[in-house]
């Protein structure tokens, strides 16, 4: 019965041709232009590392040139000894009282396209918006930087501390099972560009963020690295629908982005999609199980005394059980260009 399937909240699995935002900071210098078709790895912007505020007096002929809009990149001017101090190049924050406030600094880092697509919007100092050619697998959060690389799946049950080696440098590695900050730090040290995990505990997230901050503050930077979390905070296996998609794109060039959180997939792969009445149990005693929706199971009192609506589900092991509808989810296709 699928007529009552809409009682189960849907979870978006794939988003066709998503629009993704790549964050900029005031002072970052955008190289690409709106409408440019870009390939994964193309440099889109030069990133500032330690932006600083500079206040400069208006150039002598500035009044004749009109008032530049905030966000405009202004070239530097050489100093004229004894006459004028030089001004650094930078992005205009605003102009007031005969002075300009600029965001400036060295640009040692690059912002690269995480996947093939087209640049559709530029908001100086805020974000670039790319329309991606292929679909995106929906995640919940990206910790760190967007990146692109060849997708490698570590075997189920493997210890990531042992399975990671330098042969994976440049790859995006899917780590099933328990993952901690130590494994992720090791992956980064091996040159891995990114990791895809099912869940990550809050403590590991904070450890990872602290490790990244130390890297950022140090004089020698490692390559950018990001961890894409597909689920939440408590350990769970990948649902079979997600596992099937990851296996289908294994070895292909993929990208990760954080806004919205997505694993960007190649456009030319045929991706499996689960049956509409397939449901995943995400909580309760049957957590992690999957099965088929049969219909409403009526209100039931759960352990602990709370009365909730349930649904009848035939699990893959053949049992038919009532499960709280709040513990169920089904997969759907998300809206395009979100």
């Amino acid at each position: 019965m699928t007529g009552t399937l809409e009682l189960v909240a849907p979870r978006a699995l794939l988003v066709p041709r998503p629009r993704v935002r790549l964050e900029l900071q005031p002072g970052d210098r955008v190289i690409a232009e709106i409408g440019d078709v870009v390939r994964a790895g193309d440099v889109l912007a030069e990133r500032i590392r330690d932006a600083r505020l500079v206040e400069v007096v208006l150039p002598r002929h500035a009044a004749d040139q009109g008032v530049p809009l905030p966000g405009t990149w202004l070239p530097g001017e050489h100093a004229q000894p004894g006459r004028r101090a030089g001004t650094p190049a930078g992005e205009l924050l605003f102009q007031h009282g005969g002075r300009r406030r600029l965001a400036t600094g060295p640009h040692p880092d690059h912002l690269s396209a995480p996947a093939d697509g087209r640049l559709v919007e530029v908001h100086a100092g805020v974000a670039l918006v790319l329309e991606i050619g292929g679909p995106g697998l929906v995640a919940t959060e990206l910790l760190g930087e967007p990146h692109a690389g060849r997708l490698v799946l570590l075997p189920e049950g493997s210890d990531p501390h042992l399975a990671l080696d330098v042969a994976l440098a440049g790859a995006v590695v899917v780590m099933p099972g328990r993952v901690d900050a130590e494994a992720l730090t090791r992956a980064r040290a091996m040159g891995v560009r990114g990791a895809v995990v099912g869940s990550l505990a809050e403590r590991d997230r904070r450890d990872l963020a602290a490790s990244a901050a130390r890297q950022q503050a140090g004089p020698h930077h490692l390559a950018s690295f990001g961890v894409l979390v597909l689920g939440g905070y408590l350990r769970r296996a990948f649902p079979s629908a997600i596992q099937a998609i990851l296996e289908a794109v294994s070895g292909a060039l993929v990208g990760t982005v954080g806004d919205p959180p997505l694993l960007l997939l190649p456009a030319d792969r045929l991706l499996p999609f689960p049956e509409p009445d397939r449901v995943v149990v995400r909580g309760g005693q049957a957590a992690g199980s999957e099965g088929r929706w049969l219909g409403p199971g009526g209100p039931r009192r759960m352990r602990g005394g709370v009365v909730v609506e349930t649904g009848l589900v035939i699990l893959d092991d053949g049992r038919t059980v009532p499960i709280a509808i709040g513990d169920l989810e089904r997969f759907s296709v998300g809206a395009a260009n979100q």
């Binding site: 008032v67 809009l69 905030p70 007031h96 965001a103 809050e202 759960m302 005394g305 709280a324």
Partner: protein, 574 residues
């Protein structure tokens, strides 16, 4: 009352198609039964951040009654929920279903096309506040937070323009509030124009960003740079600390964030109706996963000698159910949780619940929700106390999704644990989430009449809590004599604990309290006579300390809390 008069009360875009014979279906106005006929039904939907709650309300014997209600996780299809309720009503009482909704014709179920009252929770959006000085920043921040905004704030006095720009352009910021006092303080005068230019620089990077100007901030720099800015001029913040709940700035900021069908705004309107209809001072504690609101509504005679009502609202986004990002918030959840759990695991479970609020309902998951709800309620009272005060009320109502995940008696216990005021109060919860949808009815008289009709069904009565202050712990404190229609019972009162007296829903009576000392129960005294009403929890004599003092040692604290919890939540160990 004609249909044409009542129609604007319902959001037209949310009404389903009119079923055959729609002339017999009344609009959701509570008109005299004779005027609209005996039949009719409508659907109430509350679309919350985590929960989709629905109910069918039908006209039975000339009165509006709650016929069916349920709740599902947000994201479910409202039509599927209505279908579930219609099927359930038709299966349970086919005659009543036919009388209120009509008979299926040609396979078409008229119940699916019932008129709908819809309220929606507008999630808390982020507002960047930029002020000239730290003083003004604090006042603007207070007003914006009380209006339900999540606030990031800075001042030109402390923060450089680069950092202010970064702050205001970060992802998620929906609007910008720029302000100075009116008239500007001496140290603000020179900064007002620069702030306007800085705001223009920020808005130029974020096309379409809404900009609020509070106080004498010049518009010219914004108009020079932005082609068609979305500018709203608001009142300046209060000169003294403590932005009142009814300040123009706070109300304008709240209106700007919420739409006309926002459930929190609507609940405030429904609170006014409850106060008028029941002639009680009502306090609503609305807590959800996206925000929290405290509403006080008190009957007050209006200028015409009639009965008016005074409604005050304050929001506290940080009091959202599983939001534990503020300092110490996780410790308070741990403080109330009766199961031992290490801090890292506790944090992970709360974070997971914030993502999937309907998960983990069984076993200790329900107890964890109870602890999180107590902590959220503490944050709500703490955040709104400076604005709304801490005075006693007659009826406390728990509203929002947070209350539906704990059994009724446990909800009464949660309120008694956290609201530590001397006095007596009735306690209830908005079990079918009707307050929001009913509050979307714009006409006060129509709303009042519907509330009067539905009063028995609208609230799930939990009972009465009596909390004296000033008793000496662990001693015989006095005696209670409860007189109800069924007789008279006497109970000895021992200070330091909770005493439960059976008083079922629908029952009422008088409690005569005789104390050995002179505790504070509103006024101080030795003998009190308190009218009491029954409910799922009954009469709860809370003879514990005010404020509640618990053992410092975690194991002893859990044991004591667990003892009280078990008395009102016997299924917790099932």
């Amino acid at each position: 009352m004609s249909r044409a008069e009542a129609a604007p009360a319902v959001p037209l875009h949310d009404r389903g198609p009119e079923p055959p014979g729609a002339a017999l279906l009344p609009s959701p106005s509570a008109s005299p039964a004779a005027a609209v006929g005996p039949h009719g039904a409508f659907v109430a939907l509350d679309l919350g951040g985590a929960t989709l709650a629905g109910a069918i309300i039908g006209r039975v014997d000339g009165r509006w009654r709650l016929l069916a209600a349920t709740a599902l996780p947000a994201g479910c299809d409202p039509d599927a929920l209505v279908g579930l309720l219609v099927d359930r009503l038709r299966a349970a009482d086919p005659d009543l279903a036919e009388a209120t909704m009509g008979r299926p014709v040609g396979g078409r179920e008229p119940g699916h096309g019932l008129p709908r009252l819809v309220a929606r929770s507008v999630p808390a959006a982020t507002l960047a506040v930029i002020a000239a000085t730290e003083r003004t920043r604090a006042r603007l921040e207070e007003a914006a937070t009380g209006a339900g905004w999540v606030v990031v704030a800075g001042s030109a006095e402390r923060t450089d323009p680069l950092e202010l720009t970064r702050m205001a352009t970060r992802p998620g910021v929906a609007a910008l509030l720029v302000g100075v006092a009116d008239p500007p303080d001496s140290d603000e005068r020179d900064l007002a124009a620069e702030l306007a230019v800085a705001a223009a620089g920020i808005a130029a990077r974020r096309p379409g960003m809404r900009i609020f100007l509070a106080g004498p901030i010049p518009e010219a720099p914004l108009l020079d740079i932005l082609r068609d800015p979305d500018l709203v001029r608001l009142a300046a913040p209060a000169r003294a600390p403590g932005e009142p709940a009814s300040s123009d700035l706070r109300i304008a900021l709240a209106d700007a964030r919420r739409g006309p069908t926002d459930s929190r705004r609507a609940i405030a309107a429904a609170a006014g109706s409850l106060a008028r209809v029941l002639a009680l001072r009502v306090e609503i504690l609305e807590i959800g996963v996206a925000g929290a609101t405290r509403i006080l509504a008190s009957p007050s005679p209006d200028g015409d000698g009639g009965s008016g009502v005074r409604v005050e609202v304050a929001e506290a986004p940080d009091a959202a159910l599983f939001r534990v990002s503020s300092p110490g918030a996780i410790d308070r959840v741990d403080h109330w949780f009766t199961q031992g759990l290490d801090r890292a695991r506790l944090r992970d479970r709360l974070a997971e619940l914030a993502m999937a609020p309907w998960g983990d309902l069984e076993g200790d998951g329900a107890l964890l929700r109870g602890a999180a709800l107590r902590a959220a309620l503490e944050r709500l009272l703490e955040a709104t106390g400076p604005v709304l005060g801490d005075g006693s009320v007659d009826l406390v109502i728990g509203a929002g999704g947070a209350w539906s995940a704990v059994p009724g008696p446990a909800a009464a216990h949660i309120i008694a644990d956290v609201i530590r005021r001397p006095g007596a109060m009735q306690v209830a919860i908005d079990h079918a989430r009707l307050l929001g949808p009913i509050g979307t009815i714009e006409d006060d008289a129509e709303r009042d009449a519907l509330v009067a009709d539905l009063a028995a069904d609208l609230l799930l009565r939990l009972g009465t809590v009596i909390t004296p202050r000033g008793l000496r712990p662990n001693r015989l404190a006095g005696q209670l004599a409860l007189t109800t229609g069924g007789g008279r019972s006497e109970v000895d009162l021992v200070a330091g604990g909770l005493t439960l007296v059976d008083l079922p829903p629908g029952a009422s009576g008088t409690a005569e309290l005789s104390f050995r000392g002179t505790p504070d129960l509103g006024p101080r005294g030795r003998r009190f006579q308190v009218p009491v009403t029954g409910g799922l929890a009954g009469l709860l004599l809370d003879l514990r300390d005010i404020p509640l003092r618990l053992p410092e040692r975690p194991d002893r604290r859990r044991e004591l809390l667990g003892t009280w919890e078990a008395a009102l939540w016997p299924e917790r160990d099932a």
